[in-house]
């Protein structure tokens, strides 16, 4: 499957890695739900590092859409919330 890290590009990730990434994703989600900045930053970093570790860069000139889209590495909780609403995104 293809995972995009916003601001960074697309990665090919094997389906077998999904369980691990889901576990990391759950930690990010918990931090966002609890509005816990202290937990959020390392949780997001761990999730993105996980994607970078198991993934390989997807062809840069492909027009494939991603299966999963992740926030940029320096995102804040507020920005993640914005990404999850209908406001705040500039679609080009």
């Amino acid at each position: 499957m293809i995972v995009r890290i916003l601001g960074e590009g697309q990665y090919d990730v094997a389906d077998s890695s999904l369980d691990e990434l889901n576990r990391l994703d759950a930690e990010v989600e918990a931090a966002v739900d609890a509005d816990d900045d202290v937990a959020f930053t390392p949780a997001l970093a761990a999730l993105l590092d996980g994607v970078r570790a198991v993934g390989t860069a997807h062809d840069v000139d492909s027009l494939d859409s991603s299966d999963l889209i992740l926030p940029p590495a320096d995102a804040t909780i507020a920005e993640v919330r914005e990404l999850l609403t209908d406001e705040g995104l500039i679609p080009g």
């Binding site: 995972v3 995009r4 916003l6 601001g7 590009g9 990434l21 889901n22 994703d25 759950a26 990010v28 989600e29 966002v32 840069v60 000139d61 492909s62 027009l63 494939d64 859409s65 991603s66 299966d67 999963l68 889209i69 992740l70 926030p71 940029p72 993640v80 990404l83 999850l84 609403t85 209908d86 995104l89 500039i90 679609p91 080009g92």
Partner: protein, 265 residues
């Protein structure tokens, strides 16, 4: 639903909505391509803007570092002529500048990071726009409007996602740069006003420099006077000091006292 999945769905629906404008799906391709070229132009301009801000901060760091070196020199000079108070003042100002320089260097690193990110985003978008152009021509040449629908949907979805990503990266870079530009503007004003003792005001118009100039011209005069006295009036030290303790001077004294007497007679 997980964050990843929610975000993906929302992001994609927004990206697609932004591109879904034309009635004939093949017109959508041209419309979208135009939007892509516009965005590429914007990103290039964005990279240039961030680079300009970065260079401005670089220039400010250089100016402040020159000022720092100048204050260091002034402190040494002041200490050399025994004015510890002036030296202290110069060093105090220097440490104030060190903080400013530290802040500016942090900003510089951030701007450099944004510039690199945007440059990479531009390259990714450029590669995809090029692919899209090729795909667009193929689709228009090969398929009827009805058949093209699916193919177009695929191409649009991929490029829409990239455009959404790049658009967001631009927005973030602009926000960060705007905040820093406000601070850079404030520092430029300070430098221009001379409050930071801008070295570009040549001649060293600040008060420490003035006092040191006054001091050094005084001490230059004294040194010159002493030199001239030493040459033309060798008897003067003896007359002033009365009974010097130094052996050298004692050795010379008999001669200096004897000679005037000899010359006068």
């Amino acid at each position: 639903m997980s964050i990843m999945k929610r975000m993906s769905l929302i992001f994609r629906s927004k990206a697609n909505k932004a591109l879904d404008k034309a009635e004939d799906p093949r017109e959508t391709l041209d419309y979208s391509y135009q939007r892509q070229l516009d965005l590429l132009t914007k990103v290039r301009r964005g990279v240039a803007d961030v680079a300009t801000s970065r260079k401005r901060v670089e220039l400010q760091v250089n100016q402040l570092e020159q000022q720092q070196a100048k204050l260091q020199g002034q402190a040494e000079k002041a200490l050399g002529v025994g004015r510890e108070d002036l030296a202290r003042e110069a060093l105090t100002r220097k440490s104030g500048l060190a903080q400013q320089i530290g802040d500016l260097k942090t900003q510089h690193a951030q701007l450099q990071g944004e510039e690199e990110k945007l440059t990479l985003a531009q390259q990714r978008l450029q590669a995809k726009v090029e692919s899209f152009r090729t795909r667009k021509e193929t689709i228009k040449a090969t398929y009827t409007a009805a058949e093209a629908q699916t193919k177009i949907g695929e191409a649009m979805s991929g490029i829409g996602e990239e455009m959404g990503d790049v658009g967001m990266a631009m927005q973030r870079a602009e926000d960060k740069t705007a905040a820093m530009q406000a601070r850079a503007g404030a520092i430029d004003e300070l430098l221009a006003s001379g409050a930071l003792d801008d070295v570009s005001q040549s001649g060293g118009g600040d008060d420490i420099a003035r006092e040191l100039d006054a001091l050094s011209s005084t001490s230059d005069v004294e040194a010159e006077l002493a030199r001239m006295k030493g040459l033309s009036a060798p008897e003067q030290p003896a007359a002033l000091e009365g009974q010097p303790a130094s052996g050298d001077i004692l050795d010379e004294q008999p001669q200096t006292q004897a000679r005037p007497a000899g010359e006068q007679s």
